[in-house]
């Protein structure tokens, strides 16, 4: 890695030359971040890379005519993005069910085989409907954070409704997994009020409603410091929908690892891996994930980290 030559003095942008004057709902944008000069992070054990494996557990909480909803969700399945009408789609329902019935247990086995811990992005209702799965997450050493009460779009909620959904999610996950979630991640993206409400709730250490950086960062919410651990839809099995067989996903992860491991000689970063039970939980793709974990473990100085570990590390070392 080359050393950067510019001074570390940072310039914040002034208002650009074309102010539209329109009020912006929600948090201001941040297009400068670490200004090309990110902190030299020392991960535990001097690791060159922190790998955060995230398993989205959504199955059973998605909109489904089979559960009395008006339509059935079509997000992130082998059928692709085909919006549904009001008829039951039993095929689509069973594609989701594969995730909670088969995919979950296969992934848990793979994590056991490799002795790595993951973070579950858990939708509360999905765990309520699969109590045995919910009950083994924490005892096996995995982290559980909140991915909403159901798998639902927070951009569509009014503030009071959203506050209530966040409260319900916390209460439910505490009940099904034995401890309250300390992290928050919306489906896809937050609404303009989400971060304020997450801070207002009071028990969260961080959220992951951001795709904007390779490292955690602090932001301010109504004068309070708030930690963000960005996530990724690039290193995500959602790519399977359009981009080839499991081996391609292995290669994708390997390339990402190779670059970040190189950078980690001087500037260790965070590598997110986003997974869905109903996609990567199928055997061919699960093999790709398992092969990648074995590949990464063949290198020294690799830290497989749960998001709460990353949050606690950041709070302690980069307050």
């Amino acid at each position: 890695m080359t050393e950067r030559t510019e001074p570390t003095e940072r310039t914040e942008p002034t208002e650009h030359a074309e102010p539209t004057g329109r009020p912006v709902p929600g948090p201001p944008r941040d297009l400068t971040g670490y200004h090309g000069d990110p902190p030299a992070v020392v991960w535990p054990g001097g690791a060159r890379i922190a790998i955060a494996i995230v398993v989205n557990y959504e199955e059973g909480s998605e909109l489904s005519v089979g559960d009395g909803d008006a339509t059935t969700d079509c997000g992130v399945t082998d059928l692709g993005w085909i919006p549904q009408d009001g008829r039951r789609n039993l095929a689509l329902e069973s594609l989701f069910e594969y995730g909670s019935r088969a995919g979950f247990w296969r992934l848990v086995d793979i994590f056991d085989e490799h002795d790595v811990k993951c973070t579950f992005y858990a939708c509360a209702v999905a765990l309520e409907r699969n109590p045995d799965a919910a009950a083994i997450m924490r005892p096996k050493g995995h982290d559980v954070m909140s991915h909403g009460y159901r798998w639902e779009d927070h951009q569509l909620m009014d503030r009071d409704h959203e506050r209530e959904r966040i409260r319900l999610a916390v209460e439910s996950i505490e009940r099904t997994t034995g401890a309250r979630p300390l992290g928050w991640y919306c489906r896809y993206g937050p609404g303009v009020n989400t971060r304020e409400l997450v801070v207002e709730e009071g028990g969260f250490r961080y959220d992951s409603d951001d795709y904007g950086d390779d490292l955690p960062f602090w932001t301010r919410v109504n004068g309070t410091k708030h930690l963000v651990i960005p996530y990724s839809l690039v290193n995500n099995d959602g790519l399977f929908g359009a981009a080839g067989p499991g081996e391609d996903f292995y290669e994708h992860l390997r390339y990402t690892f190779d670059r970040l491991y190189t950078e980690g000689a001087t500037h260790p970063k965070l590598m997110n891996i986003g997974l869905h039970l109903r996609l990567v939980g199928t055997p061919g793709r699960a093999k790709a994930l398992s092969d990648f974990i074995a590949y990464a473990k063949s290198f020294p100085d690799v830290w497989f980290a749960r998001r709460i570990d990353i949050a606690n590390h950041w709070i302690e070392h980069h307050p």
Binding site: M1, T2, R4, E6, R10, T11, E12, P13, T14, H16, A17, E18, P19, T20, G21, R22, P23, V24, P25, G26, P27, P28, R29, D30, L31, T32, G33, Y34, G36, D153, Q155, Y188, G189, P190, G191, V192, D209, D210, Y211, G212, D213, D214, P230, L233, V234, N235, L239, A242, A243, G244, F249, E251, H252, L253, Y255, T256, D258, R259, E263, K269
Partner: protein, 297 residues
């Protein structure tokens, strides 16, 4: 026949007999690494715009803020751009940045980092915007604003131009009228630069390509990063072969919010390693290629 507004089409070009050029050092291929820097100048509710870009998510809700999409663009400005700058430095490549002026205004440290590292900054609109959305007068004003802004944020005026999506029927005339532009890249029509008549004079076009662009990760033509790598090495290998008798131009198109992600950068560096192994490449800024062409033709 009705009168067609704008430039005449040219479906003949060099007529199968392109000029045999000699690139500096006798290189077989001129390789133009071209980084499109637009992050922060795209349409976004977070910018105060009435509508956001139409992404894949909720395309029917463009009047509502999409914080997820906004941060995906921000990744380019905060992480991807700096990673690409590091790679260009590692490989000692001087690149061309097609920059939307407002993107640079919103990231002053990035704007100031470009020219001192030897890169060219060409104009990619005042904002990331389609010139066809403007009247001729509005477009002339946007071009002038872009030139003024980029001169201010990077210390020098841009001498090259590239339009989002498509130039308007006025764009090329307006660039010539504005003056100071050595070339534009508003063409995908050839493997070599070419002269075109504008307002009684001649104007240089340095064509670009979408074939060797990281944007094919966005439309999912590329899945694994190695797809991008193989596309680049195949392009180079073919042009290297042709370059024994007929040297050409290769453009590698990069977007920090797309190609700045680490796995895709690994694909890029693998391809650059391959090009270095094969040899015969002249890594050139588009302005260098334009000036070279001006001297030769």
């Amino acid at each position: 026949m009705s009168v067609v507004p704008g430039p005449l089409r040219d479906v003949v070009g060099y007529n199968g007999a392109p000029p045999r050029v000699t690139w500096p050092g006798g290189a077989r291929v001129a390789v133009a690494v071209t980084v499109h820097y637009v992050e922060g100048s795209e349409r976004a509710i977070g910018n105060g715009d009435p509508f956001r870009e139409t992404g894949w998510y909720a395309p029917d809700r463009t009047a509502e803020r999409d914080l997820a999409a906004e941060t995906m663009w921000e990744y380019g400005a905060r992480a991807g751009l700096w990673r690409l700058l590091d790679v260009l430095e590692e490989y000692r490549i001087a690149a061309t940045f097609f920059a939307s002026a407002v993107a640079l205004e919103k990231n002053p440290d990035a704007a100031r980092a470009l020219r001192p590292r030897g890169h060219e900054v060409a104009a990619y609109g005042y904002r990331y915007e389609d010139p066809r959305d403007f009247t001729r007068d509005q477009e002339a004003e946007r071009i002038a604003l872009a030139v003024e802004s980029i001169t201010r944020t990077t210390g020098e005026r841009p001498v090259g131009w590239y339009s989002r999506t498509s130039p308007s029927i006025h764009t090329r005339e307006l660039l010539v009228a504005e003056g100071g532009f050595v070339y534009d890249s508003d063409s995908y029509a050839d493997d070599l630069p070419y002269w075109t008549p504008v307002a009684g004079g001649r104007h240089l076009v340095v064509p670009t390509t979408l074939a060797d662009s990281d944007l094919h990760f966005e439309d999912k033509w590329f899945g694994s990063p190695s797809d991008f790598e193989r596309q680049l090495t195949s392009t180079f290998d073919r042009l290297h072969q042709e370059g024994a008798t007929s040297p050409k131009l290769m453009t590698i198109g990069l977007h920090p919010y797309v190609g700045g992600h680490p796995g895709r950068v690994q694909a890029l560096t693998n391809a650059l390693d391959h090009i270095a192994d094969v040899g015969g490449a002249w890594f050139a800024r588009r302005a260098d290629i334009a000036r070279c062409w001006k001297d030769m033709t």
